[in-house]
């Protein structure tokens, strides 16, 4: 908890607000980071305090860097307050899973941890990783310890650092998938904070007496990044990871069946703030091409540029996209090239055609099999709709299939050898996974919702708890206009922070208040054009009436092959 950089007001003897390079007043989180002694803060004391299920205030910011959020059950606030009990605090833990991959043994471990320490539901996220919710403070250490035994960690899964690196999920779609997938892990490791605090706090590793060089962090220094930082990798023509929504997007370039490098894009980010006109959703701008050898360096220097130039006084304007606004795209590129010591090459041509998961059984070039299972909003649980959680556990127990997660919150039962396929297929049939996937409608299969209520502190409206029933009501409207097989991308988020990537949808809902949503339309199907707000604050009835009208016009007036997003853009947004 060093405060050596703190300036003191000589007259009052009070600490002055810390200032950044350009003399601006730093946001309070900046102080917490630099004073945290390598993200340690007072987390150990926070954990042992028996008085509350919450953490000390500063530690609530720091625990994010360890892959957790402090949350509370918002459904229970009122009742518990009447009972003179504090809110029901618990923690969400998010794993660091570059490219979204688990061995069958790891899935079994995850299943057990979920049952022992969390609500039991395994949530596949929009960034190809796994979240567990409802972990009480006293269960955090056992959870991390159990994960550690399975060689799983949650380091930097949240916080002002590079988050989970995403990568196109379908090995069957490209022969160079494995090589590209390896980059996700390389980037993740490169951008890990160097502090040993995760191991000390959660796994009781002895603290080193003297800070050694191993703790020096040339990338993050003691201030980390101004804001979260996201990196994704796509293998065209599928843009299932929504690569341009990342701070850094890498688009694999393949020539003669060989990976030669990546088009590198920067400045994506979907979050905005209601009522703050300076905030907006943005897709990344493709800057140029880097070779395989140059890729890590280029990514690294985008991060350092953001570290040094990002806004540290206003967290709402701190993402890389706003830094680019200040530097300009050309300015960023120049700075990046200066730092890299090499020039970016001309952008190589690429083309995206979809962002979807191809469900059911598929085979890759080596003869391995992949079954992509539809999971509504990524929630793995046993309920009246099916024993999804038990099914995946039984499959994992065979040891014959890996688990891959897609950017659309689905699970791929992956890398199954031809010889093992009958055994896995038997389980798939036994638990009706194939039926479940086949029976889901096109709209539902291409929809995403964020978590929102009851645990997300930012939620203004419902999302994953509500979207399934809203789709139940939209499906008849589609059928009425003969659109039931249209693979329209619909996404819902409970607030404008964009976790459910609704700005990058053909139909996007953004919660404004409980039961009310802004309706956005006009995004394209490939993820290269964002949508635009069409109506404000619609309740369910208004949503259904509006969509009915839009579908009617679309069905009548669309051009051949024209998507709902493209039609909407032409008909209602540009006009």
């Amino acid at each position: 908890m060093s405060e050596q950089n703190q300036n003191i007001d000589e007259e009052l003897g009070l600490p002055l607000p810390r200032r950044g390079n350009k003399g601006e007043v730093l946001s309070p989180v900046e102080r917490i980071k630099t004073a945290s002694d390598g993200l340690r803060g007072t987390l150990k004391e926070s954990l042992t305090s028996q008085l509350t299920g919450a953490l000390y205030e500063d530690d609530q910011s720091l625990i994010k860097f360890h892959g957790m959020y402090q949350q509370d059950d918002r459904d229970r606030r009122e009742e518990r307050t009447a009972k003179k009990l504090e809110w029901l605090f618990s923690y969400m833990i998010r794993l660091r899973l570059p490219g979204g991959f688990l061995t069958p043994e790891q899935w079994v471990a995850l299943h057990e941890v979920a049952g022992k320490h969390s609500t039991g539901t395994i949530k596949i996220t929009t960034r190809q990783t796994v979240q567990l919710h409802g972990i009480l403070k006293s269960h955090i250490k056992p959870t991390i310890s159990d994960f550690n035994l399975a060689k799983l960690d949650s380091i930097a899964a949240c916080g002002d650092v590079n988050r989970n690196v995403t990568c196109s999920a379908h090995p069957n779609e490209s022969e160079i998938h494995e090589e590209v997938f390896a980059f996700a892990d390389k980037i993740s490791v490169m951008a890990l904070p160097k502090t040993r605090s995760y191991y000390e706090i959660w796994l009781d590793e002895e603290k080193l007496a003297e800070k050694t060089e191993t703790e020096d962090d040339p990338l993050y220094q003691d201030r980390y990044l101004p804001r979260k930082f996201k990196i994704g990798i796509a293998i065209p023509p599928n843009n299932d990871v929504d690569v341009l929504t990342n701070d850094v997007g890498l688009i694999a370039v393949i020539e003669n069946n060989k990976l030669i490098g990546f088009n590198i894009a920067a400045g994506g980010g979907l979050s905005s703030t209601h009522g703050n006109p300076n905030t907006y959703a943005r897709l990344a701008t493709v800057l140029g091409f880097v070779t395989v050898e140059q890729t890590l360096k280029a990514v690294y220097e985008v991060i350092t540029t953001q570290r040094d130039y990002g806004n540290r006084s206003d967290r709402k304007l701190a993402r890389l996209k706003y830094t680019i606004d200040r530097l300009t795209v050309e300015g960023l590129k120049e700075e990046l090239e200066k730092r890299c010591g090499f020039k970016l090459a001309e952008i190589k041509p690429y083309r995206f055609t979809s962002r979807k998961d191809h469900y059911g059984w598929k085979k890759n070039h080596q003869g391995k099999w992949y079954f992509t299972l539809f999971l509504e909003n990524g929630r793995v649980l046993d309920d009246e709709l099916g024993a999804m959680k038990t099914a995946l556990l039984e499959i994992a127990k065979t040891g014959k299939a890996n688990f891959r997660f897609t950017g659309n919150q689905n699970v791929i039962i992956a890398d199954v050898m031809e010889a093992d396929k009958p055994a896995i297929e038997k389980l798939v049939k036994e638990f009706k996974l194939d039926e479940h996937t086949a029976n889901a409608g096109a709209l539902r299969k291409n929809a995403i919702a964020c978590v929102a209520f009851n645990t997300c502190p930012l939620a203004l409206a419902e999302a994953q708890r509500y979207l399934p029933t809203l789709i139940d009501k939209i499906e008849p409207l589609l059928a009425k206009h003969g659109l039931q097989d249209d693979e329209i991308i619909l996404r819902m988020t409970g607030c404008p922070n964009g976790c459910g990537r609704s700005p990058a949808a053909e139909i996007g809902f953004v919660g404004t208040a409980y039961g009310q949503y802004n309706l956005h339309i006009g995004g394209d199907r490939e993820g290269e054009r964002l949508n635009t707000k069409y109506k404000d604050n619609l309740n369910e009835e208004e949503i259904l009436t509006t969509l009915d009208e839009l579908f009617e016009v679309y069905a009548k007036e669309r051009n051949s092959g024209e998507t709902f997003g493209d039609f909407s853009q032409r008909k209602w947004i540009l006009n």
Partner: protein, 572 residues
């Protein structure tokens, strides 16, 4: 102070004494000083002393709720009017080694729930049961207070009586057992006692008049309150149900933190109406009983016990209705169904033989300074009733748990003289798991509202942190504002090994001892067994280890704390 010469003389005088002899002399001199015999040049006159002692009696009381104490105080005042010198003492303060020296010893003692002595008298009772004494010169009698609705009626009084007889003491007046309406019986007993004392001494020529013990119809002020709040503090999924009940009266309630209130639960209206229809009596018929006056319906709802009637009540009923009824206990409604009354007029007589509803005592969990003097709070665990018989459990749990906001309730304040906060600048250690939190919520609110600057340390425990942390947000506020200097919590079932408050106390042994050795008062509230016993063992261990004392010295240390009023328990 003492002149050089006299000091020299004294030193010369003691030169020839052995160490043992000096210790004896030391005790002798202390005795002289404490008996006020200093400055009397004459040697102690045995005859004179005896003449005084024959007019002197010891009146000892063992009390938990305060009834015995109140009665004993009245009796002592009456005795003094008759020229009898009374040494009035609480059995908790009574030195058992004085027993052989007593001439007359009269004991007024109550019996608790399961035939147990009142906690303050337990040490005395244990002593006379665990030791063989010879008391041939002692003349005694026992007045036993009890409640015939409990199976072991006046058990403690019986035990004391039997033990003293066994030790060869002479029972000058037979054991007198009293029910909840003890006044008349107690008066008669004491008249006999005075007669014996006066005849023996023959000092006072005046004729023995019965002591004028005033019988008051209502000797406690009853308040009529409205329920402001009734919430179950335990969250969903808890095995416990603890009700926080806030009551508002239309006048100031005279109470202090540490007091308890007595609540008379109402009978169920549907049962009362059933009784009315069974007997055919008019609901608004006015009846005057020994204790109350009102319409039949009112009396049956609010005043008279209709649940699980006493055998004696049923006998009276049998006589009244001229029916053969076996010795049993049952609800009035069943009795009326099986052995009906002749008519409504006969039922009127039945109403007059019914006992009053027994009140239930609850520790107050509010502070007049903090919550306003018209308001009083209690903290009631549902399972607290489990120790009662089934019917009573039903009556009380239904009554208190179901009391809706806005309903009315009658209660009285029961003063607890001992369980009181020390001076504002003194430190306080509070050990109150479960509903034991109640008086400490009261203490903390009071100290907060009055700005008391002594430090406060609270030990609390329950089953689960998430669902059972009673008054959690209030405690958090007290920590934040500094009212609570320290808080230690034990949630027994949140981990594999059960952790209780005594374990937390042990973990803080060094600091705990510093606090008490520095003058802190220690309070225990909650279940007697095993909690308060385990905590006391832990306290002894800490005093022993931290104070570098033997077990015996530790016990003496704790005794001293008790004497100084710095170690108080409110356990049940």
């Amino acid at each position: 102070m003492i002149g050089d010469l006299r000091l020299k003389k004294l030193q010369e005088f003691f030169d020839s004494y052995s160490k043992e002899e000096l210790i004896w002399v030391n005790g002798y001199l202390s005795g002289l000083v404490s008996n006020g015999k200093v400055n009397s040049n004459a040697s102690v006159n045995g005859q004179d002393y005896k003449a005084v002692s024959t007019k002197k009696i010891t009146l000892a009381f063992g009390t938990e709720t305060g009834n015995s104490k109140k009665l004993a105080t009245q009796l002592a005042a009456a005795a003094k009017k008759h020229g009898v010198v009374v040494k009035l003492t609480n059995l908790s303060q009574y030195r058992v080694t004085d027993l052989p020296k007593e001439d007359f010893l009269f004991v007024v003692i109550s019996t608790q729930g399961e035939g147990e002595p009142p906690i303050p008298a337990k040490k005395f009772c244990d002593y006379i049961h665990e030791n063989e004494l010879s008391l041939p010169n002692l003349k005694f009698s026992v007045l036993a207070l009890g409640d015939t609705s409990y199976p072991l009626f006046c058990k403690t009084g019986e035990d004391v009586d039997a033990q003293l007889l066994k030790f060869g003491a002479k029972q000058v007046v037979p054991l007198q057992k009293c029910d909840v309406d003890y006044e008349e019986d107690a008066q008669a007993w004491f008249a006999k006692v005075l007669q014996v004392v006066e005849n023996q001494t023959a000092v006072t020529p005046a004729a023995a008049e019965p002591a004028p013990v005033v019988k008051k119809a209502t000797n406690k002020k009853h308040y009529h309150g409205t329920i402001l709040t009734n919430i179950n503090l335990n969250d969903r999924g808890s095995k416990k149900a603890t009700y926080h009940i806030e009551i508002e009266a239309n006048e100031a309630i005279a109470y202090e933190p540490g007091d308890t209130i007595g609540i008379v639960p109402n009978n169920r209206a549907d049962v009362v109406d059933r009784i009315l229809s069974l007997t055919g009596i008019a609901a608004d018929k006015i009846i005057i009983t020994a204790k109350a006056e009102g319409t039949v319906r009112e009396l049956l709802l609010h005043n008279l016990n209709i649940c699980y009637l006493l055998t004696s009540t049923i006998k009276k009923y049998a006589t009244l209705t001229q029916q053969e009824i076996p010795d049993t206990r049952m609800d009035l409604v069943d009795l009326l169904r099986i052995y009906p009354v002749k008519d409504a007029d006969q039922f009127e007589d039945v109403v007059k033989i019914l006992m009053p509803i027994a009140p239930r005592l609850y520790s107050v969990s509010s502070s007049p300074a903090a919550h306003g003097e018209n308001e009083i709070h209690i903290t009631v665990a549902k399972n607290a009733f489990l120790t009662q018989d089934e019917q009573r459990f039903g009556l009380c749990s239904e009554f208190l748990g179901d009391l809706p906001v806005g309903s009315s309730i009658t209660f009285y304040v029961h003063k607890d003289k001992n369980f009181k906060l020390p001076a504002a600048d003194k430190d306080v250690i509070m050990i109150g798991p479960g509903t034991g939190v109640a008086p400490f919520r009261s203490f903390l609110a009071e100290r907060d509202a009055t700005g008391a600057n002594g430090r406060n340390w609270f030990f609390f425990g329950e089953q689960h942190f998430t669902t059972d942390f009673l008054y959690q947000t209030e405690m958090q506020n007290y920590v934040e504002t500094g009212v609570l200097t320290k808080i230690d919590l034990a949630f027994s079932r949140d981990q594999q090994e059960k952790v209780y408050v005594q374990h937390r106390i042990k973990e803080k042994a060094v600091e705990f001892f510093q606090w008490i050795d520095g003058g802190a008062s220690v309070y225990i509230s909650g279940t007697k067994d095993p909690m308060s016993k385990d905590v006391e063992q832990t306290l002894l261990q800490i005093i022993e280890e931290q104070g570098k004392k033997t077990r015996e010295e530790a016990q003496q240390y704790l005794e001293l704390l008790k004497k100084e009023g710095r170690y108080e328990k409110d356990v049940y």
